[in-house]
């Protein structure tokens, strides 16, 4: 087991990107899940397909779309540039890539949590005269916390492993955008890098296993619902 300073920066960067992507996505994921579970509107199926699309699309496709949209000539890229923000080839681009790829997993878990909420509680809240936002803040939000935790851990783990979209929209720049999977790719492309690649692989497996373990523990508690 031998890790270079560059490897350590890749590990730190991976964690930073995964945390940022998860934290930013959480409120949006919560709102989306709430919309999907508690409201009925036209085009709900369409929204559902859109949200789940990144689960099945090749990450390379997502990365390429992001590059075209966020780049110098892309419409979002041009818009952000007018505020002096440039995303492409920075760690922020890796955050966007991770967020896009992990979002469906987050929404899924939060939805599962919300769907298990006892409807009588919601009716009670309504019949006692609480407006929708009050119900949302005092009933739905606290009862969704475990779902949000489970979803966040899953999304965090997925973000740690993001490769395909990241390497296109953020490049493979050591210290700036090179995350664990990208560093492994660099080592694996040369036969002499096997030992170095394996060291990082072990780190990667250890991180994923611990996060998924945490996810399972949260999931177990979730199964017992509000009784735990």
């Amino acid at each position: 087991m031998h890790l270079t300073p560059e490897d350590f920066s890749a590990i730190a960067l991976s964690i930073k990107i995964a945390i940022t992507a998860t934290v930013i996505s959480l409120p949006v994921g919560f709102a989306t899940a709430w919309l999907m579970v508690f409201s009925h509107f036209r085009g709900k199926v369409l929204l559902e397909v859109l949200i789940n699309l990144p689960l099945t699309l090749p990450p390379v496709v997502i990365g390429y779309f992001l590059l075209l949209m966020l780049g110098r000539n892309g419409w979002i890229g041009v818009f952000l540039k007018s505020f002096g923000i440039e995303l492409v080839f920075t760690w922020k681009a890796a955050v966007v890539a991770s967020a896009a790829v992990g979002f469906p997993l987050l929404v899924r878990s939060i939805r599962l949590g919300m769907e298990s909420i006892d409807h009588q509680l919601l009716q009670a809240s309504r019949s006692l005269g609480a407006p929708w936002y009050d119900t949302l803040a005092t009933v739905i939000l606290p009862l969704s916390l475990r779902g949000m935790l489970a979803g966040s851990s899953l999304m965090f783990a997925r973000s740690l492993g993001e490769f395909g979209a990241t390497i296109i929209v953020a490049g493979n720049i050591p210290g700036l955008t090179q995350t664990i999977p990208l560093a492994i790719y660099d080592y694996a492309s040369s036969p002499t890098g096997t030992a170095m690649a394996l060291s990082l692989c072990i780190v990667s497996v250890a991180l994923s296993v611990s996060v998924l373990f945490l996810h399972e523990v949260i999931g177990k508690q979730l199964e017992h619902g509000g009784k735990a």
Partner: protein, 252 residues
């Protein structure tokens, strides 16, 4: 339980079938492992060869040279190996995985700087005026390694730090230049010639980096394959050379 067992059995059957149909080397089949930068030229070369040698069929594997060397070391089927640098050829030679007498130089390539920028960029020093410069990741992409050597040798390492955008291969860094995401990229001349928007702005002086040599060799298995041997010999001929030149390679 019963259905599960049935399911597993059918999976096993499918797997066995796959193994049986994919492994044996057919007569007349030549497996070639070729550096990605030679892809288009080699496709045409193989097409021309196959026309005059109807018995031969080709399995083509294009990837980064280092990755190919690793695959051959792990026992991937390959009769002929063309590397984008001498390093990986020597690596296999030391492990006695290529037939040493068959190693020879196949082609040469140059590094150029290509981009769609409107600025006048004519030399390495002009690069400091640009915002973003694409190169291949120096650790895994030979072209990126050469580009980095050229930058260091011109004393621009400090000036260009933070401007270098490292891509997973030469083609990706050319794609960045083509889309205008970087001002330009250091790529092989042969790649730059294929670009539509990015133009060659200058040729990187040959004194700044080692000569880009593509060595070719038969693997130990390939040395026993008559079709691979005849293809290896044919690559020296006029037709193959003409195609290489058409794509911008140098043949000496």
């Amino acid at each position: 339980m019963k259905t599960m067992k049935h399911f597993l059995r059918s999976i096993a059957a499918v797997l066995t079938l796959l193994v049986l149909t994919s492994v044996p080397a057919l007569a007349g089949q030549v497996s070639i492992s070729v550096a990605a930068s030679l892809k288009d030229a080699l496709n045409e070369i193989v097409g021309v060869y196959a026309k005059s040698h109807p018995g031969a069929t080709f399995q083509k594997n294009y990837a980064a040279s280092g990755a190919l060397a690793g695959q051959i070391e792990q026992g991937a089927p390959a009769d002929l190996f063309i590397s984008a640098n001498v390093k990986w050829m020597n690596y296999l030679k030391e492990k006695n995985l290529v037939d040493a007498p068959s190693i020879r130089t196949f082609a040469f390539n140059d590094l150029v700087f290509a981009g769609a920028t409107s600025q006048k960029i004519k030399s390495m020093n002009d690069l400091t005026r640009l915002g973003k410069i694409g190169i291949g990741s120096p650790k895994s992409v030979p072209a990126g390694e050469y580009a980095m050597q050229a930058i260091v040798k011109s004393g621009l390492e400090q000036a260009l730090a933070g401007k270098l955008i490292m891509a997973k291969d030469v083609r990706e860094s050319l794609m960045y230049a083509e889309l205008g995401e970087v001002d330009g990229s250091v790529v092989y001349r042969t790649d730059a010639l294929m670009a539509k928007k990015a133009r060659i702005l200058f040729t990187v002086p040959a004194t700044l980096y080692p000569e880009v040599v593509y060595p070719v060799a038969l693997t130990v298995a390939g040395a026993k394959n008559a079709d691979a041997k005849s293809f290896h010999a044919w690559l020296k001929g006029k037709e193959a050379t003409a195609i290489l030149k058409k794509y911008g390679f140098t043949v000496k």
